[in-house]
Amino acid sequence: MKVKVVSSILEANQRIAAQNRRLFDDAKVFVINLMGAPGAGKTSVLVNTLNLIKNKAKIGVIEGDIAGTHDAELVRETGVPVVQINTNGACHLDANMINAVLNEDFPLKGLDFLIIENVGNLVCPAEFDVGEHMKVMVLSLTEGDDKPLKYPLMFRESRALIINKMDLLPHLDVDVEKIRHDAISINRELETFALSCKTQSGFDYWIKWLTGLK
């Protein structure tokens, strides 16, 4: 006999992501899942952001990397509480990994924002809900201006796109407007920011938008 199942294949991850989101909502924490390719500048954007808003808002960070604690140590230098997840081979964070951190007395209460820096990868993180309220991606100019059309799902799933390393524009054959145009063609709701961690240009607008979310 036929039995209706009507379940997503990713049902287990979605269930745990929903649990995580309930914990976040109960604690009134706004959670961002920060994604991007390796070397895009996720940690640099994060550290610069933390230094600019840590006196205005309470923030926590969960770092995700295949191995090592390099990024968590950079975050720790800002004074913001951080936990490092090592996936030991998995190319993205999933809801279960975040749930495990939350169940180990992660200091969620009192936070305004939790930023989860995902494993560097332009493919899989877009597929997995970890319970966040918003996905934000970082794309650096050195990756070229063809990435939106090559990796549409990442751009579709993100609420904001940070175009990083703008200080290198004079040295590159990259069309920033093409990046914006193609990304917005995929996702009309996408908010875009162009900034440089080196010169700090563009951060004012990004910080204003970010702090306005809560």
Binding site: M1, V3, V5, V6, S8, I9, L10, A12, E127, L153
Partner: protein, 114 residues
């Protein structure tokens, strides 16, 4: 995209449903997989056929229904569908103002049991 992990998820769900319903044998499992989901059906089938061995679904067949990428153009109002992985421009008017509503499915629809 992690088809072995997806195959294990399918087997977990099916095993749980069989336990809840008291079913002994799974004969087939019907999936709907969208073309834009990132799932490679051939890889999923391969992984499933290897991993099902010690489960209640050991003699089952995986039936994959492919869902094309589709939606509506917000410019000309026409609907579209394609077997391509993704659509950026309307095939009718060329505008990049699409509402893509189908093609991301990764669903277990039903199973045939006894």
């Amino acid at each position: 995209m992690h088809e072995a992990s997806l195959a294990l998820s399918i087997l977990d769900t099916v095993t749980r449903k069989c336990s809840e319903g008291g079913y002994q044998i799974v004969e087939s499992i019907h999936l709907r997989i969208g073309r834009a989901s990132g799932v490679l059906p051939e890889a999923l089938l391969f992984a499933f056929n290897v991993l099902k061995a010690d489960s209640i679904a050991c003699s089952s067949k995986l039936i994959i229904e492919h869902v094309p990428v589709g939606g509506t153009c917000n410019c000309c109002g026409e609907t579209f569908h394609t077997d391509e992985y993704y659509v950026i421009k309307c095939p009718w008017c060329g505008a990049a103002e699409l509402s893509v509503t189908n093609g991301f499915e990764m669903d277990i629809v039903e199973m045939e049991v006894s």
